[in-house]
Symmetry: C2
Subunit: 162 residues, 2 copies
DNA sequence: TCTGAAAAAATAGCCGT
DNA sequence: ACGGCTATTTTTTCAGA
């Protein structure tokens, strides 16, 4: 994986497309080279299928951290939500009803990057306290949610209205 | 969304492909009808792009729950991990170093389905206690992890070895 | 709403660099 | 490894049922 590969993967994520033509426009890499590169990345297991699901371990973002965030502000969280999402590496962010206000999942390139992540959160004025949990191993991180259901269940549960 | 749509979406998830040809083999729906259907689903916002990212709200799996699982067994969790993943609706599952052993994210079709989920976990013999947290609103649930990084950061952090 | 057939695009392969 | 080119395969469009 060199710079070109990373630019390509980033373009796929940003544009949300696998179209060689569009990727060429974005990256200036010739269409046939894009092919060549993507085939190699697939071979290496970095990209998984024709939906371009990325293997986070292989791409170098294999460290996962869960962060609970408690705020000291009880009004509208509107602006604060934006600030949370601005923190680099945050892939999931939930506003919850439990003991903490927000729960965040972040994918990082190394465990030493956790410090920066926490600092970014603690720096926000609305944050009262954070509580981080290291992920030792990921049993599943499913990009395709429907895989985790039987067809029968989906038909039962999603078809009730019509 | 009728049965055909659901079968189609399920096939996309299972086969991890958007290829009309492959989807035809799986579902027996004619290739050009698959197109017609997918266009409608895209129009309706159920599918987001040509990578077939699904809108969970629109598809009817908009309820998210986080479950902490504490086990009473301190040996190998190997078989137990399988049991967790067998619970329907579990999309993320992490083995952690924190106060609890496992943290699970599940996407459900309604809040009344939470009961079944918890029961499924509590029924497992290794489970000592569970603690569920309802998600009030999802700020982000990113299928494309690289979107949450600047290109500069990716180049800095992922390129260090070569 | 659906589909077969035509048009367009993506992929594979060749080969000189 | 790269990338221009052509051949092949696959996807997308669309008129008509």
């Amino acid at each position: 994986m060199d710079e070109r590969d990373i630019r390509l993967l980033k373009a796929i994520s940003d544009l949300e497309t696998g179209s060689p033509e569009r990727l060429h426009e974005e990256t200036d890499i010739p269409v046939s080279t894009i092919h060549y590169r993507l085939n190699n990345l697939r071979e290496a297991g970095v990209i998984k299928n024709d939906l371009y699901d990325v293997d986070l371990e292989k791409v170098g973002l294999g460290v996962t951290v869960l962060v609970e965030i408690l705020t000291d502000y009880s009004g509208s969280h509107h602006d604060f939500k934006e600030k949370i999402l601005d923190v680099e590496g945050v892939t999931q962010a939930y506003f919850t009803m439990g003991e903490t206000d927000f729960i965040v999942v972040a994918h990082l390139s190394g465990s030493e990057k956790v410090e920066r992540l926490i600092t970014d959160f603690e720096t926000l004025e609305e944050v009262e306290r954070t509580n981080s949990t290291f992920v030792v191993s990921t049993l599943r991180d499913s990009a395709r949610v429907l895989q985790n259901y039987e067809l029968e269940t989906l038909l039962d549960e999603l078809l009730e209205d019509e």
